[in-house]
Structures are given as C-alpha cells and as structure tokens.
C-alpha cells in the first residue's frame, strides 16, 4: 500500500545469532517502490511475455521483493528473453537442467565426491598429476588407469581450493549451516570450473555464486544464473603468468579517476595507492564484501 511503512528485509536472509559483527542492512521493502509480488505477476501477458521496461523501472526505484528475487534475476541476468512465452521458457529450463546434469555426471565420473553431498578441502593430486598425501582411493584408481589428461589434472587441482572457500562463504548466514547447501555451492563451482577451463576457479567466485543458490531452489537453475553472471565477469578472473584479468578494470578506474577527480588520483598516488590495488576486491566480487548480503543484492539488481 502507498504510505505503508517500509519493511526491513533482513529476516529473509537470516544471520546466525552468534554473528554480531555483520554489516547492518539498509535496504527496506518500500510499498509502491519495491517490485512486489503482485506487480511482478501482473507484468506478464497471458502467454508469458514480460513487460520488462515497466519492471526495470520499478526495480530501479526500490529493488525487488526478496520472495521473487530469484525468478526476476533469471530475466535480469539474461537467462530468459522477456519476449519468450511460458512454454518456451519451460522448454529451455528443462534443456538446461539436463545439460547441467550431464556435465555434473561427467565430473562425478572422474571424481565421485561431486554430487555426493560432501566436498573436499585438501589437495587430492600433485601438480604433475601424481597422488599426494591426501589422495583418496578414487584418485589413486584414476591415476592407475594411466596418465591423466591435463584438463583433468588442472580441474582436480582446483577442487580443494573451492572447498576451502565454500566453507568460508557467507557463513554468518543460517542458510550455510546446512551441509547440503555447502555442497551445492561446491558442486556448482566444480562443474563451472570443468566447463570454463580458461577461468576454472578463482577466489572470489564463491562470493558471486552464493546468492544464486540462496535465491533459486533448483541447483541447475542456480548454476545457469551463475554462468550468466560469469559471462559478464569472467574477464576479471582470467589469469596469466603475469597478470590477473581485473587489472584491466583497475587501469580503467585509474584513468577515469584521473579525469573526473584529479585531486583524488593525486592523493592516492601520494599514498602509494596509484595502482588502485585496493579496489581489486570491490571489482571482483561487485562490492559484496562492502555491504551486507541483502544490500549487495539490492546494489546488483539496481
């Protein structure tokens, strides 16, 4: 209702009571401004086509109501064309779920911890593809079958890093007290690393993936939202021997600041921050660490 008081949104992303030093959420659900469930439902034509213009306007003014964030984000991220019909989307969703399942099965065949509800945090393989001190029987068996493909070695080398980060991602949220949610995050990142061999996994990606799992119930749907997000951001995570992708953005930031606020730029130079390394995290995880969970989602959608 117009004029009704704004409703806090923190209860939708419950924080564990013992975690006291999490940032306070400023986002509030504002009646008449925030995209509500009702407004969202009436934005569709009978065949399912979405009036995206009107919706975007709303989102821009007041964000999205937490209960519909997941389905709205699928459009915002480009998983679905607003002009598509219900039927077309359903078909696409099924295809994508099957595709994800196929990839996940491929991963599982190599390393059965994928999809098992568990995950690993210690390296299972050495860099030259040998078995390390923590190698499981699974890996030993794999190695015994003959020398491993480089793609497989590179992928196996990432799995424990993903695990180490999964354990530390948004762990102030009640959501991640559940082992099944942690392993979901691990599975999605592992499958992504398998299909995007250029990027694989790089620290920070778990922060980007985590909201997708919280917002969408189906693991495959979460994966595809994450995959869409990574299309825009993967450049930052691409590393070579001598550079990290985000450096391109850092130099843009430096160039822009130099023009619009030369004094600030000069000041940063004087302090020794002229390389803008302090902004690496902001750019790589899109300010997720600067704001509360809820506020960063609001920032992303706006």
């Amino acid at each position: 209702m117009w004029g009704a008081p704004a409703e806090p949104a923190d209860s939708y992303y419950e924080v564990r009571p013992e975690c006291t030093d999490v940032p306070v959420t400023k986002f509030k659900i504002k009646p008449g401004k925030t995209l509500s469930v009702r407004k969202w439902q009436t934005s569709f034509a009978p065949d399912g086509q979405l009036d995206i213009g009107k919706t975007l306007n709303r989102i821009h003014r007041g964000g999205i109501h937490p209960t519909i964030r997941g389905e709205v984000w699928e459009f915002l991220l480009g998983c679905f064309d607003p002009k598509s019909t219900y039927e077309e989307r359903e078909q696409l969703r099924q295809q994508r779920r099957e595709q994800y399942q196929k990839w996940k099965n491929d991963c599982r065949e190599i390393f059965p911890v994928v999809g098992s509800g568990q995950f690993i945090t210690a390296p299972v393989i050495t860099e030259d593809g040998g078995d390390g001190p923590n190698s499981t029987e699974i890996v030993q068996e794999l190695i015994n079958r003959g020398p491993l493909d480089k793609k497989i070695i590179d992928w196996l080398l990432l799995l424990h890093q993903i695990g180490l980060d999964v354990k530390r991602t948004d762990r102030s949220l009640v959501f991640y007290e559940k082992q099944e949610n942690l392993s979901k995050l691990w599975d999605i990142l592992a499958v992504y690393a398998w299909i995007d061999t250029d990027v694989g996994y790089c620290q920070g990606m778990s922060d980007l993936c985590s909201p997708m799992i919280i917002l969408l119930d189906d693991e495959a749907d979460s994966f595809w939202c994450f995959e869409r997000l990574m299309r825009r951001l993967r450049g930052n995570f691409r590393c070579t021997e001598s550079s990290v992708g985000v450096e391109t953005q850092l130099s843009h930031l430096a160039a822009v600041t130099q023009v619009i606020d030369p004094k600030l730029h000069q000041h940063l130079e004087t302090l020794g921050g002229g390389d803008y390394l302090f902004a690496v995290r902001m750019l790589m995880v899109l300010f997720r660490r600067e704001f509360s969970f809820c506020d960063s989602l609001y920032l992303w959608e706006v």
Partner: protein, 216 residues
C-alpha cells in the same frame, strides 16, 4: 618522497603476509591490528591492508601489513605486492602438512620478487589445535635454521605469539636499517654518528635496496 601526509611516526615498514590458502593469514592480521579474531572470516580476495603503529626501541614505527589471497594464481599481481616490503610473515597451518611443505615454494617466491634483505619470520599458526598437529615443532625449527628464518608457532585465536612475531620482525628490520644508516653516515662523514641522531630511512638515497614501501 611519499609520506608527507602523516608525520605521526618515525618509520613506516611494509610487511607482507604470505602462505597457503586457509592457514589464517587474515586472522593473524586482524589479531595484530585490531585484537580481533573472526570465526566467520572470509577468503581474501586480491590484497587487503591494515596498519598498526607501535613502539620499537623507543621509535614510533608504523607497520603497514599487506594480506593476500592464498590462491597461487593471484601471484600475478606480486610485483606490486612485494615492492618495498621489508618484512614477511610466512604462515603455515600446523594441522596441515601440505601448507608446511609449500613453505619452500613461498620462500622461492620471496627470493624471486622481494628485496634480498627482507626479514622473514615463519609462523606455524593454529597452535591451539595441538591435538590435530601434523607438523612437529622440531621439523619446522630445522627448516627455519637451514633457511635462515626466524620461527615461532602462533595462534591468532588465542592471541599467542602474534604480537611477539611482529615485534621480532619489526625489531629485526629496525636494527638492519639502523646499522645501514650508521654505516652510510659514517662513510659519508668519516666520523662516528653522535648518539641520538634521528635517521630518516626515507632520505637514505644511497640505500637503494631498502626502498620505503609504496614509493611508486
């Protein structure tokens, strides 16, 4: 020179925190700079910084500590990371053998990228988890000796040896710099330096190796 902004200290020392992912670097940093330990700590992305000003031998020293992501691929930003660093805390986790085995790799990294005079302290962190220990103190000590490193076991959780580890590194740096400064002044003037002279490391132009941090 850089530091015209803040004259509240006599020396500014840049120290880098390195070591495998998940060994507790960020909590060592927060324990030392804010006396905090966070059970919900997150992975470090890129580089994070914190400072603390403290007294070393009667001088005010500002320690500027650079904390990094443990994942190896972030090493690509290393040149900026090690530039001007005068100290390093090389951390492993006493409950994870692999993180200790990788100490040699980190040392190589330091020797390739950092100043050759950098003061290195190896820290075996998580000493509170003694029941899960996978690296003996003796093993670590002998590695430290053969590589010429200082060594301490630490616990960011229990605030054990964190202060001491940094103090030791800072004192070592201070002494090296003081010796160099004295030598420089002696050779310049041909006489001894009178007691009580204040030496500004930032102006030691003939001490090219020990650049103050961030002097880009």
């Amino acid at each position: 020179m850089a530091y015209k902004v803040d004259h509240e200290y006599d020396y500014l020392f840049k120290i880098v925190l390195i070591g495998d992912s998940g060994v507790g670097k960020s909590n060592i940093l927060s324990r030392f700079t804010r006396n905090e330990f966070c059970l919900e700590s997150k992975s470090t992305i890129g580089v994070e910084f914190a400072t603390r000003t403290l007294q070393v031998e009667g001088k005010t020293v500002k320690a500027q500590i650079w904390d990094t992501a443990g994942q190896e691929r972030y090493r690509a930003i290393t040149s900026a990371y090690y530039r001007g660093a005068v100290g390093a805390l090389l951390v492993y986790d006493i409950t994870k053998r692999q993180t200790f085995d990788n100490v040699l790799r980190w040392l190589r990294e330091l020797r390739d990228h950092a100043d050759s005079n950098i003061v290195i302290m190896m820290a075996g962190n998580k000493s509170d988890l003694n029941h899960l220990r996978a690296v003996s103190t003796e093993d670590a000590q002998s590695l430290a000796e053969s590589e010429g490193l200082s060594f301490m076991e630490t616990s960011a959780l229990e605030a054990f040896n964190i202060e001491k580890a940094f103090q030791t590194v800072l004192l070592d740096i201070y002494q090296i710099i003081r010796k160099k400064a004295l030598a420089a002044q002696e050779s310049a003037s041909g006489t001894g330096v009178p007691q009580g002279t204040t030496i500004n490391v930032n102006n030691m132009s003939d001490n090219a190796n020990k650049k103050p941090c961030c002097s880009t």
